[in-house]
């Protein structure tokens, strides 16, 4: 009898030992699951600009200013540069957290005449993952407005806000006024904002970029909590 009981208990302990060895996984607790919902990857910002001939007269100043704007971008944000000239989207650089490479790239960009290609830039932005903000510097708009608005809707759905700096310094009768209306509408539809790209007050533009990068890097709440004047100006322009 005693032997039999012993055998039974042996069986039980064997079984438990097997259980201990087996690879069962405990279903992860709710909190462990939830913590994964918070993304740890860097958010992205796409910096795009118009490099067509109409921007030639003030190009050197614009280039310096654009490069200076990059200094304001913090490290926890991945940035890429895109520009269009000669009637097509010339180049989109890879996303990087180091601004220096992009600053060099800006120095190399040359103006080439052609119609604007903002729609191509917007279409590209729709397909970029983790993109939080799109910045565009341009003066004219010579494309199909309806398509631009459609793409703006797509960007809104993807949660990409578009910030446009409108360069009104172009000479020789370029139609910057009607472009301004289109830019304003695109910015509004994506929940972004439009500002003048004033070559005479680079500090203002730079401060605004700083505010945009705060938004792109840390979200709208960080922008609200920021004590920068430009952050408050940006929020006001975004209707937030």
């Amino acid at each position: 009898m005693a032997k039999k009981k012993n055998a039974l208990s042996n069986k039980k302990s064997d079984f438990l030992a097997k259980v201990r060895k087996s690879k069962t996984t405990v279903s992860s607790s709710k909190s462990e699951t939830l913590i994964k919902a918070i993304s740890t990857e860097n958010p992205r910002l796409l910096f795009s600009m118009d490099a067509t001939a109409s921007r030639e007269p003030v190009w050197d100043i614009a280039r310096e200013l654009t490069a200076a704007m990059f200094e304001a971008i913090p490290g926890e944000l991945d940035v890429a540069l895109a520009y269009h000239s000669a009637s097509r989207l010339q180049e989109v650089t890879p996303f990087t957290s180091k601004a220096s490479g992009i600053e060099r790239k800006i120095q190399q960009v040359q103006c080439r005449s052609g119609i604007t290609c903002l729609n191509e830039v917007l279409d590209h932005a729709v397909n970029v993952t983790r993109l939080k903000a799109l910045i565009y510097i341009g003066d004219c708009f010579e494309e199909e407005e309806e398509y631009a608005y459609f793409l703006a809707g797509q960007l809104k759905l993807k949660g990409v806000r578009t910030f446009i700096f409108h360069d009104t310094s172009s000479e020789y009768g370029y139609d910057t006024d009607s472009a301004g209306k289109v830019f304003q509408e695109i910015a509004k539809r994506t929940g972004g904002a439009m500002f003048p790209f004033d070559v005479n007050s680079p500090e203002v533009v730079k401060a605004l970029l700083e505010a945009i990068s705060i938004y792109a890097g840390k979200g709208i709440k960080a922008l609200r909590d920021s004590k920068l004047d430009s952050a408050q100006r940006l929020l006001a322009a975004m209707d937030e």
Binding site: S31, A37, R88, G219
Partner: protein
């Protein structure tokens, strides 16, 4: 093929009668004939459709009035009797129906890169040129058959036919040069082991063509679909059953925490596109969702830190009072002098900044 006139054609400018083509066409010796070729006898015009009100216009093909082939008197010096653009020539081979078949020299112009490819594949300029010549000759004879068919179709229809009624095989697909280039490039593809007929799904640099005018503005992955409504608000739903939720479940019926779980499960299934859309949706719904989810995960609620309580002052305090209190506190808790940890002074600093902003 040159057009043959059965009856003499009267020159509208001089009244002289002519037989097309010019030259001694009955001679058995090789004589160069000149006249209008088969395609010159056809013209494509935009005409009003009869019995329509308001008048509608359509494209028609018709046989050209042979009198139109003559050039104006003042141009005769340089162009000759018939319009230069309608003049063709060649040595007679034989006669058939309305036409005389002639033989003539011609040239074809192709892209320099294509020519280099052909040279590279054959290894020799001469061989490449001869092959290009053969390709072009084949293309021309195919084109001639097409032209003859087009002429016959138009003639059978009584000299005029609507463009839409022309059979497919009578229409041009490409020029002779393009046909030669295509043949060489296809050959080159086979040479490189690439299938030339493989469809390129998205040409580089070309924007996708959205049929955005008819469509609603929406984006969708495999599970999540977001739609932009006319008032600018966003609505989302599930396309299929996922994570215990039924298809068509509107996202607005789910709690924040449930959405966050859904996001994790989408990421686990590597549905990046859907995860992207859902996190964009979460951003739109609640800008503080990340903090709230983090708090839920740690089992705490978001701690509301009141700067007034931290500094221990009354809400009625003046800016000067706040500053004085802040300085007094900092004197006693500064990490350099007090030995207390940094976070204590950081918290006080934060509270002070917050009040300053107000």
């Amino acid at each position: 093929m040159l057009w043959k006139s059965t009856e003499p054609v009267t020159d509208p400018y001089t009244g002289v009668e002519h037989h097309f083509p010019f030259g001694d066409r009955d001679s058995s010796q090789s004589v160069v004939l000149s006249g209008a070729n088969i395609l010159d006898m056809l013209e494509r015009v935009r005409l009003e459709v009869p019995d329509t009100d308001p008048p509608q216009h359509k494209m028609y093909w018709r046989i050209r009035d042979s009198q139109l082939l003559f050039s104006k008197l003042k141009n005769r010096e340089e162009q000759g009797t018939i319009w230069k653009k309608y003049t063709a020539g060649g040595t007679k081979v034989d006669e058939e129906a309305d036409f005389i078949r002639v033989e003539k020299k011609s040239s074809v112009s192709i892209n320099a890169v294509v020519f280099k490819l052909a040279t590279g594949m054959t290894g020799n300029y001469a061989i490449a040129s001869r092959q290009i010549g053969e390709l072009a000759a084949h293309a021309w004879s195919r084109d001639l058959i097409r032209a003859k068919l087009l002429y016959d179709t138009i003639k059978a229809a009584g000299g005029q036919i609507e463009e839409a009624d022309i059979p497919r095989q009578c229409r041009t697909k490409s020029t002779i040069s393009q046909e030669v280039e295509t043949a060489i490039l296809k050959e080159c593809c086979h040479w490189l082991g690439v299938d030339p007929d493989k469809k390129i799904s998205r040409p580089r640099g070309q924007p996708r063509k959205h049929r955005y005018k008819e469509e609603k503005n929406l984006v969708s992955g495999e599970v999540i679909e977001l739609e932009l409504l006319d008032d600018g608000s966003v609505r989302g739903r599930l396309i299929c059953d996922f994570d215990g939720l039924r298809a068509n479940t509107p996202l607005e019926t789910l709690t924040l925490i449930r959405l966050a779980e859904l996001l994790v499960h989408l990421r686990e299934k590597e549905l990046e596109e859907d995860a992207e859309l859902l996190s964009a949706y979460l951003d739109a719904v609640d800008e503080e969702w990340q903090e709230k989810v983090a708090a839920e995960a740690q089992g705490t609620t978001v701690e509301v830190e009141d700067p007034w309580t931290i500094l221990g002052i009354d809400r009625s305090a003046s800016p000067q009072d706040i500053k004085r209190t802040y300085r007094n506190i900092m004197k006693s808790i500064h990490p350099d002098t007090s030995g207390l940890p940094n976070w204590i002074s950081a918290k006080v600093n934060q509270a002070y900044e917050k009040l300053q902003n107000q």
